[in-house]
């Protein structure tokens, strides 16, 4: 059994053709692998290496260099909380505390018991005018308040229980989110 699905490996094998240096494909390839698995396991990195005809060690070196590649399991939903200057001045510490309480973890990188959430502290997200800001998966959530954080968390919990049981919680007043497959991000080259 390979860690990565065969169609994904095919997709990865097609990547090097886009670059003058075939090994440049390692970043988008890791990105795809992470989309599929949530985090990068040694097996996944080795398979990426084989698919790109690189050494696993090289792939590992790249993966460990970038904080956005996760080597440990992460929550299904990841909060990237900006704790840089503007956000800090507008209460980023509060955001972190509230978020920790809401998802029930003690430190960055820890995964909530239900496996749904984890958070990380990051540098400026480039949206200072909306501080405090958090990136939740691939969306920016801006002008955060405690209430907003709670509902971001609860929404996703409820959706989850709804999906599981097929019954929507009576407390759930949020519109049902569209049930699309997650959009695959592919990094633009260059």
């Amino acid at each position: 059994m390979s860690a990565l699905s065969s169609h994904l490996l095919e997709e990865i094998k097609a990547l090097p053709a886009k670059y003058p240096q075939p090994r440049s494909a390692v970043m988008p390839a890791l990105d795809l692998a992470q989309e599929e698995l949530g985090h990068l396991t040694p097996e996944a990195m080795s398979e990426v290496a084989v698919a790109l005809q690189l050494d696993p060690g090289y792939v590992e070196g790249v993966a460990t260099f970038y904080t956005l590649f996760h080597l440990e399991p992460v929550g299904k939903h990841r909060f990237y909380v900006c704790t840089n200057l503007s956000c800090m001045l507008r209460g980023a510490e509060d955001v972190v505390d509230r978020l920790k309480a809401a998802i029930g973890v003690r430190e960055p990188g820890e995964v909530s018991k239900d496996g749904l959430f984890s958070y990380e502290e990051v540098e400026c997200l480039g949206a200072c005018e909306y501080a405090p800001v958090v990136r939740l998966d691939h969306r920016y959530e801006v002008d955060l308040t405690r209430g907003k954080i709670d509902s971001l968390v609860n929404d996703r919990r409820l959706v989850r229980s709804h999906v599981k049981t097929g019954v929507r919680s009576s407390l759930d007043t949020t519109p049902e989110p569209p049930r699309k497959k997650p959009v695959r991000r592919t990094k633009k080259s260059g």
Binding site: P22, P42, M45, S46, Q53, L54, D55, P56, G57, Y58, E60, G61, T64, F65, Y66, T67
Partner: protein
Amino acid sequence: MPDVKMVNVTIDGHVVTVPDGTLVVEAAKLVGIEIPVFCYHHKLDPVGACRMCLVEISPGPPVAQAGCIRPVADGMVVKTQSAMAVQARADILEFELVNHPLDCPVCDKGGECPLQDFTFRHGYPTSRIDGPRLHFQKPIPLSPNIALDRERCVLCYRCTRYYDEVAWEQELTVAERGVHSVIASQFDQPLTSNFSGNIIDLCPVGALTSRLWRFESRPWDLHHTPSVCSKCAVGCNVTLWQRRGQLVRVTSRENDDIDEGWICDRGRFDYTDVNDPARLRVPAVHGSKTTWAVALNTVADGIKGKGSKLGISLPQDLTNEEAFLFRRLLDGPLRGAKVKMHGRTALPAPSGEQLMIKDIDDARVIIIVASDTENDVPIVNLRVKKAVSKRGAKLIVIHPDAVDLDRHRETVHIRNQPGEAAAEVRKLADHELLHEPGGPVAILYGDGRGSEDAAGLVAACTELAAKVGAKLMPLYRGTNERGSLELGVAGWDSLDGVEALLSWGPPPTAGVPASVKFHAVWDHLPRPEHQNASVVLPATSFAERQGSYTNLEGRVQFLRPAVDAEAPLKESWDVLCELAAALGLPLDYVGIFPIQREAAKAFPALAALAQPPSPEPEPVPVLMGPARP
């Protein structure tokens, strides 16, 4: 040769004329000025990662600049001792030491450590750092042979660059980023490369150390002897380090004609047998210890007059001198004996002009036939890699299995059926790469570890060489296979059916034939095969031996004893002379030099033996003037 433009540079007031493009650090060496470096290494591409080499360069911006990546230009003025340069280097050293554990008293590098030396010569005398330092597991075993002490690492990347550029492997990488960067093996698995040990020599600090030598001794307590590796036919130059009669480490000794300062792990780590307490030291007949005279007479009686009923298994690493004496025995009392040399290829003695190892550098197309170069001729393999990745040579490999040279994407790998290599070679004449090679073509051939018909393969390669104007290099495997071939002793006979057997060195690969009634052993280690031996003679190991080897390109090099062959061990030429006497052939040599002189006269290939060079003098260390701020 295209004309290289020469330029004049002034370094600390000395004017030096060097080819355009020379790096400032290299130009400075020519006038005896050492610019300290960590990341720069003359065999690796410069990266400018550590900034240890900061000097003042004008014309240029008024900041200290890295001398290891700056090529000289005409009229350039370099100051290594200006206030700016001196302070810049001291500041860099202060940073280097922020997390350094300063455990020099227990560090194996202590005494030969550039970080230590540079701190003395260029650093601030006191430290201002009193904060907490990074700590790591200590030490991390990178492989059974290499230990990593991460906090000593100065992140010069010499080790990972070497792995990538020279060995074409990436099992050693930099993990994490910034201040958290560490050197790591891939997925923390042990290193497996046959070239891993070179990173120990390369590491400018004690971060990478040999586990075989760890905490054994301080470098200044060792005696060192320049010698030659005895593990394969490449003949890399090595330094043997001895302490109290023990061989404690083997390091590389740069010879640009052969090894360029690299050795393989077999050459570096495969030496502990020398110090084995179980080493054979006293001759024995039927299991009871005796004198050399008794033992040799017993051997002589057992093997005399046996003709083709006598089998002799030869070690791969016998010296030319031993081979010469042995030849005299074969021509005399042991005439007709069947001889089988260990570890040799089926290749015949070379004829005509051969390719030298250093010529591989300039080849435009390299063809490797029927040889697993990584394991059979490791350092030649590195030369090929250099020619391909640093000089753009094209590579064609003919081999049935995957080889490590396939790591280069442009390697043309023709997978032949075992035994069909010659046919593939013949087809090559029309290969597109050979139409307009644009320079020399090199053909390196082995014998496919016996799977190819050697004579046919040599013929095919010679034919191809004539067609495309290539030079040939036979890739012998046995350490002194070429010398033994030239002396006519490298036998290839089957030992089946012999009645008397002399196993010189390790036992015959095919085992001791059942027909053997008299078995004499001459070996340095006890082995199960010696059980029923009639006579066991103790042999010297490579570290105690003197003499010469002819490497695969025909170069005669001298082996020097690092450890004394203490009585009752006897030097092998001495044993051979006494055995000859016992067999009725008086060979009266008073030492090894008369043997060498006679061999030089008798065999033109051994002419170099007439005048063994004295061991090269120690390089004089270059020191900079007072440099501390």
